[in-house]
């Protein structure tokens, strides 16, 4: 069975500070990993995805994530957050032949001035 754990329910960070969101996954085969962002009242928007190759992937809005197979992790980072980054972030796992995504419970990010 596939599953995703996001250990942090809520993170507060100062504007301009760095941000790291944790994601651990369980998947029986080669995982495809995704980070989505959801702003209030909006649908989910894809930030970045990992399928294979370079384990450090770059996404939109200055985000990056690193895949670590040995730790079953896919943590999301941003060097300097902006107030507009306040949102809910979801990590998801799927597979090459599996079109079903399993989502974590999400991490809410609050940005303080």
């Amino acid at each position: 069975a596939q599953s995703v754990t996001q250990p942090d329910i809520h993170i507060t960070v100062s504007e301009g500070a760095s941000l790291e969101l944790r994601c651990n996954y369980s998947y029986g085969a080669t995982p495809y990993l995704f980070w989505y962002v959801q702003s209030p009242g909006q649908g989910l928007q894809l930030l970045l995805k990992y399928f294979s190759g370079d384990t450090l992937v770059q996404g939109i809005k200055g985000f990056e994530a690193e895949f670590k197979r040995s730790q079953s992790s896919f943590n999301l980072r941003k060097p300097s957050v902006h107030w507009s980054d306040a949102a809910e972030y979801f990590c998801a796992v799927g597979g090459e032949n599996d079109y079903k995504l399993s989502f974590g419970a999400g991490t809410t990010v609050t940005v303080r001035a």
Binding site: F34, G41, L44, F90, Y99
Partner: protein, 115 residues
Amino acid sequence: EAGVAQSPRYKIIEKRQSVAFWCNPISGHATLYWYQQILGQGPKLLIQFQNNGVVDDSQLPKDRFSAERLKGVDSTLKIQPAKLEDSAVYLCASTTWGSKYNEQFFGPGTRLTVL
């Protein structure tokens, strides 16, 4: 390119009433998903269509939920009768079948409140 469209955006009903949600996926996307997102949780897949056929409905509470995609384009999700625990955001997503990169594109969702 137009995104995934959903309507209505908000719906408030009494328990035991029925409700229907509509989704129009991105043009050309053969695969369509319905997700339920309860407050404080991640989206949970309810049903997946490939064209007008059901691929996975293992998480759909079939005693009260139904969904169809008759012409393989837009889709309707229905709840009858609704329960309090059905209060959630219902998200529709679509993707191209056969793509190795199964990126799903999401609509804005329908927020259902059951009183």
